[in-house]
Amino acid sequence: MPSEKSVIALDGARKHFGAVRALDGVDFHVAPGECIGLVGHNGAGKSTLVNILNGGLSLDEGTIRISGEPVDAYSVSRARQAGVRCVFQELSLCPNLTIVENVRIAHRDLGRSAWRKNAETLIRDQLGKVFPGHTIRTSELVGNLSIAERQMVEIAIAFLEISNPVKLVILDEPTSSLDAVLANKMLAYVRQFVAEGGAVVFISHILDEVLEIADRIFVMKDGKAVVDSTASKFDVASLVQAMGSVVRENERRDTTTNAGEVAIALRNGSLQAHRGEIVGLAGLSGHGQTDALVRLYLENTGDWRSHRNNQVAFVAGDRSVDGVLPLWSILRNMSLTLLPDLTRRFFVDVARERELGKLWRERIAIRTDDMQNDILSLSGGNQQKVLFARALASPAPVVLMDDPMRGVDVGTKQDVYSMLREEAGKGRTFIWYSTEMDEVRQCDRVYVFSEGAIAAEFAGEDVTEENIIRASFKEAAA
């Protein structure tokens, strides 16, 4: 590929987050008039790559060239100057502002005088170009728009050209909230934009859509590029295969598919788990797994009026937000769910609490010499172990886990896997949302989520990477 012509070119790009290699030596070139389909499963490095391209993250190693010129200090404003625009997966407009005012925020090159009028005409024209026949009023507050309308506005804002020419637009799941008609209008516009010499990086979990629009397919896995070639060579099946690992053997443990009594189920019956079973929730992240867990939890615990019952325990995924109490000691963090049992005549039985802490410290090997230490003195992995202990020490027969192993080292993971096995053997039920394939393969049965609903269910020998990827990536738009 002649890189002199590239809109933007990454060479040998590396980015680490702690021990995690998000990008591990990636070469990525985008030529004008080219649409690249970027695909990969969770944690493959797609979003890191996107954030490098738009200047939000800086590289640990490697070079960035814009139109052939090497750039040292690449940043968000430098990226915008170079004509790189991005539509993010999570909607990122200001809901308290009108559409016109959001245009003002997004485009600093909009002049100072009469900007309201200019922005109004520009965005109305642009919306008309991308989504002909739309009915969005530009004076409307973004907060009052439907999700589809917000996405339409965001796409139109990204393609809007004021003084800097738009050279590259990165579309991260742009069709996720659009219906088929709107999605087709947008795809037609993307095609026209590319034909006129623009470049597009297109990320989607709907593989047909990617194959239809992209000239070139770029498949990532574990921070590396595994495929970079023309789209015409691929069909959906071969793309799914490219995303999965080829070499890894089936290292599954023996599953105990005992169809015993149902321990927990969603009220609508779509999801259920039996006693002693480890049930996985898989699929691309953000496709409704956490919602399902929260619903399970809320349906099976009392509300604030009724008496608490210990049927379900929850292990939070986002440690710092809804797991750890940062000002408390390790012991207190651990004993939180047990306090009612540890209470004697209105006071916490400190001796029993300490005993319990000692027991669990040994059982799950929390690396500290004193359980009274601050929880923050522990590494992330050990903090997570404390949260596991909090759930496991409770008498709850069902434990829900919301991707709890994010950023946890391999050693801890092995510890936790064996702990889960042991507890499941004793008859506990685990429902485990995970974005990592290794963890999903630990499960007896797996539900694959797509677009907020369960797309497939696999058990025993069918829990394979290929099956799960095929179910998470849709073959055709609804």
């Binding site: 990122s92 200001c94 809901p95 308290n96 502002l97 005012e101 925020i105 600093r108 100072r112």
Partner: protein, 310 residues
Amino acid sequence: MTSDRLRQLLPAFSLAVLLISVFYIQPRTMSYLGLNLLFNLAVPIALATIAQMLIIAVNDLDLSMGAFVSFVACVAATYLRDTPLLGVLILAGAIGVYALVGILIYVRNLPAIVVTLGMSFVWGGLAVLILPSPGGAAPDWARWLMKTKPPGIPMAIVASILIAGIAHFLVMRSSFGVVIRGVGGNERSVERAGWSILWVRAAAYASAGFFAVLAGILLVGLTTAADANIALRYTLLSIAGVILGGGEFTGGRVSPIGAVIGALTLTLAGSFLSFLRISSDWQIGAQGAILIIVLALRVLLNRSKQGAGD
């Protein structure tokens, strides 16, 4: 849609109800002099409310507002009158400190409530140093400004309309205001567009400082003398004014016109009580009651909107 409109009209509606009750109890207030007396004290409160609103627009809260306005009043009654140049320099410096506080809060990721609470003691202390006992005198021009009698409409009303108009233009119409509210609504998206959040926040705090300085000067113009504790009530009054006027604590949802109306309503609540011959000790309680009633109405409107949406 209709309940959206209703929500916007709620502040004006509550002011009208209160005003009509006052007119009903004491018809003599329905005059040039009467209106001026009713709303005179609202002018500095309205300015302080606008200042507070700028801070709330970036999702922070300023607990030093009352102490700062008191400090400005003390400076205005001493330095600004005796050595105008020094006075102006001190006030400009104070606005600079406000900007620095905004920067400090953002850079060190500190809770604004804690930092501004600390600053309130700094401003309070400085005010006592300048004026250990009540005294000083207002600059003549400030006194003239507050005593002037424009034909037809009382000064208090003219000033309120002017403040509301300027603040509306600055916060709701100008691109400066759009970026400030954008930071309150979704800081990340503003950052991704390449704006410097640091400077936006510094500018929001500096403009808040500017409006608070105006509040302090006009307060002295009204009272003609100052005291280190003259405006301590302004902290809570300004927050209540913003909320009463349709603003919210987070999300960059503020309304400058509503905020001025909120300040007028709170001032009127005090007079209303004295017309009912109820001790002014109950004033704060009455202001609180009005706040609770209006917020309850707002919740009801929101609920009916959600009901209609589903």
